[in-house]
């Protein structure tokens, strides 16, 4: 068997793929956080809970309504996004004039409520969600076995991230959005409905989390705590990337997933903390983050 640095290629590439998949989730989630933070100035602590909700909505659609994975992929982000819009209208919109630490506290409370409700209803053991038939099986590559579904997750998340980036950077809508981030009052004076923008932005950011949840459902078992742990890692990703740029959060997300995968191969004990260690190193060298502007 061929080895690289004393590690079987099969294992190495397997872990790299796993890392890439984790990275896909980090990227989508930190992208959503970046968009919401950019415009609303709110650190959405509920992001992890809404990601979990996306996975649960997929599961519910299958179990109660009989709609499969592909339906869920379209519908769950809409459901989660709509839920987000309600949250924004009813609760978050009241906080814009306050210090943004209150946004963090409010969304933290929301995360507790959402997770608690799902835990009451479904317990913590986790529910299975099957890989859709079209994507089962895999490809036998010369150096590893590539499960189709995992390849799909990477492709889908990359596509969504790039599409989002294009919309924000290259379209008129995106231009309004970026302008509103810089100076909401001025943009409003030009006749742009900024409050509507805020609501839709929150809805979209949250829908991204829901989308990630559906992608995750067949890989991880669907359970109420799935968002609680990933959100803290995503916060570290955000600190490392620096929230200034959209593309920054995507690149950092994927890169850190890969680093985590590599650590699992060479020094498994550190795999849970490697991202935090990198965060510390980045903070020492470049406090604004890799892609960040100084605040």
């Amino acid at each position: 068997m061929t080895t690289i640095f004393g590690v079987p290629t099969q294992a190495l590439f397997g872990q790299l793929l796993l890392g890439l998949i984790n990275g896909s989730f980090y990227a989508i989630l930190s992208l959503g956080l970046a968009i919401i933070f950019g415009l609303l100035n709110i650190i959405n602590f509920a992001h992890g809970a809404l990601y979990m909700m996306g996975a649960f909505v997929a599961w519910m659609l299958l179990t109660y309504v009989g709609l499969g994975y592909w339906w869920a992929l379209g519908l769950a982000p809409l459901v989660v996004g709509a839920f987000g819009i309600v949250l924004e209208q009813v609760l978050i919109a009241r906080l814009y004039k306050l210090d943004h630490l209150y946004g963090l506290l409010l969304t933290f409370g929301l995360a507790l409520i959402i997770q608690g409700l799902f835990r009451n209803q479904y317990g913590v053991s986790g529910l299975p969600y099957a890989i859709p038939a079209e994507l089962s099986g895999g490809q036998r590559l010369p150096f590893m076995f590539l499960p189709n579904y995992r390849a799909w997750v990477v492709v889908a998340s990359l596509t969504v991230c790039i599409a989002t980036w294009l919309v924000i950077e290259k379209t008129k809508l995106g231009a309004y959005l970026r302008a509103a981030t810089e100076n909401p009052t001025l943009v409003q004076a030009f006749g742009v409905n900024v409050p509507l923008f805020l609501t839709l932005t929150y809805g979209f950011g949250v829908a991204l989390a829901g989308f990630a949840g559906v992608l995750a459902a067949p890989i991880y078992s669907v359970n109420p705590n799935m968002g609680a742990d990933i959100i803290i890692v995503v916060f570290a990703v955000v600190v490392i990337g620096g929230m200034g740029s959209i593309i920054g959060s995507v690149i950092t997300g994927f890169a850190l997933g890969l680093v985590e995968g590599l650590t699992k191969v060479f020094y498994p004990e550190a795999s849970a903390t490697v991202i935090f260690v990198i965060m510390v190193l980045v903070l020492l060298v470049k406090p604004a983050g890799l892609f960040g502007r100084t605040a």
């Binding site: 409010l106 507790l112 608690g116 009451n120 890692v233 004990e269 935090f276």
Partner: protein
């Protein structure tokens, strides 16, 4: 507005200068608390009271950082929990007497606070919060994987031992007396810090950091100092809790604990001297009496969070302070 300038509940306390009358009022409240501490165990279960006191000290330490430094740490469980592990370990395996074990735990928290604080104060506002949270998560994974912490089991059956090797703490009443003294000392120390020149500078930095810097204060040194003080006192609370409950476990170092202490401070009143005590009392009582409802406790806590942020930002004591127009 400066990024760290904070939390607008705090200025209520800050806007009203502490006059001589107010100091007399505070002294009266301290005496009241001391009397309550003596009377309470006659009526209430001492173990419950000790839990309240440990968390009240924890919340006071946290509020020193948030209310007076304007820094929202979301990782205070790290200092509370790691101190509790070290205290439990030294008491159980190295045979330290309780007071030395508590000091060992407290020193651990101070050291950890120095390292984490030095990193975290490099960024401001919500970045600061996220960094403290991420660092605390590192401490959590460390506690989960390290040999001496006992992983999922934690460190159980920690001996309470004998104070100074003489007074046995096995009896709840003796233990209670020690906890009450530690709590009172911690509270007075924090009061002293807040009302010292150091505390005044802290408030200036909290309200307008660039201005404080332009006046010649080294803001980051002050912030680091208050961070370490807060972590140390949180560690004192965690160590004491380990001795009282004879247990150090992952719960104490998990980020949910960090959230809980934020909640206590928020409910009681950020930036008030006495708020965190009331907050801890409310939250611990709620948890004790709602424990039978399982996951509903989390949901209720979440609702309290949301309601406090939306309607009740001053907290209980903050509200009272505004009504009587006196800083509390």
């Amino acid at each position: 507005m400066a990024d760290t300038a904070a939390i607008d509940a705090a200025p209520i306390a800050a806007a009203l200068p502490t006059s001589r009358d107010d100091k007399a009022l505070h002294r009266l409240i301290f005496v009241g608390i001391a009397v309550l501490l003596i009377v309470a165990p006659l009526i209430l279960y001492p173990v419950y009271l000790m839990k309240v006191l440990c968390f009240a000290l924890f919340a006071l330490a946290f509020n020193l950082l948030l209310g007076y430094g304007g820094l929202l740490s979301f990782g205070h469980a790290a200092y509370f929990g790691m101190a509790s592990y070290l205290c439990a370990y030294t008491a159980k395996h190295l045979g330290f007497t309780p007071e030395v074990a508590i000091l060992a735990g407290t020193a651990t928290a101070a050291l950890l606070g120095l390292v984490f604080g030095a990193l975290a104060i490099r960024r401001q506002g919500i970045y600061f919060s996220m960094i403290t949270l991420a660092l605390a998560q590192m401490a959590y994974f460390f506690a989960l994987q390290a040999k001496f912490t006992g992983g999922e089991d934690g460190i159980q059956a920690v001996p309470r031992g004998a104070l100074f090797g003489v007074i046995s703490l096995a009896d709840d009443r003796a233990m209670y007396a020690v906890v009450a003294v530690i709590f009172l000392a911690g509270m007075l120390l924090i009061y002293r810090i807040i009302h010292s020149p150091f505390g005044q500078v802290l408030k200036a930095i909290r309200d307008n950091e660039p201005r404080a810097i332009s006046l010649g204060y080294r803001a980051s040194q002050y912030k680091l100092a208050v961070f370490v003080l807060s972590a140390t006192l949180a560690g004192l609370a965690g160590s004491t809790k380990a001795i009282v409950f004879q247990l150090a476990s992952l719960t104490d170092v998990h980020w949910a604990m960090s959230g809980e202490v934020v909640l206590m401070t928020l409910v009681g009143g950020m930036g008030t001297v006495f708020g965190p005590i009331v907050g801890a009392l409310v939250i611990v009582t709620m948890e004790t009496y709602l424990a039978q409802f399982g996951a509903w406790v989390t949901i209720i806590q979440g609702c309290v969070f949301v309601l406090c942020v939306l309607l009740f930002r001053e907290g209980i004591v903050g509200l009272i302070a505004r009504m009587i127009r006196r800083p509390l």
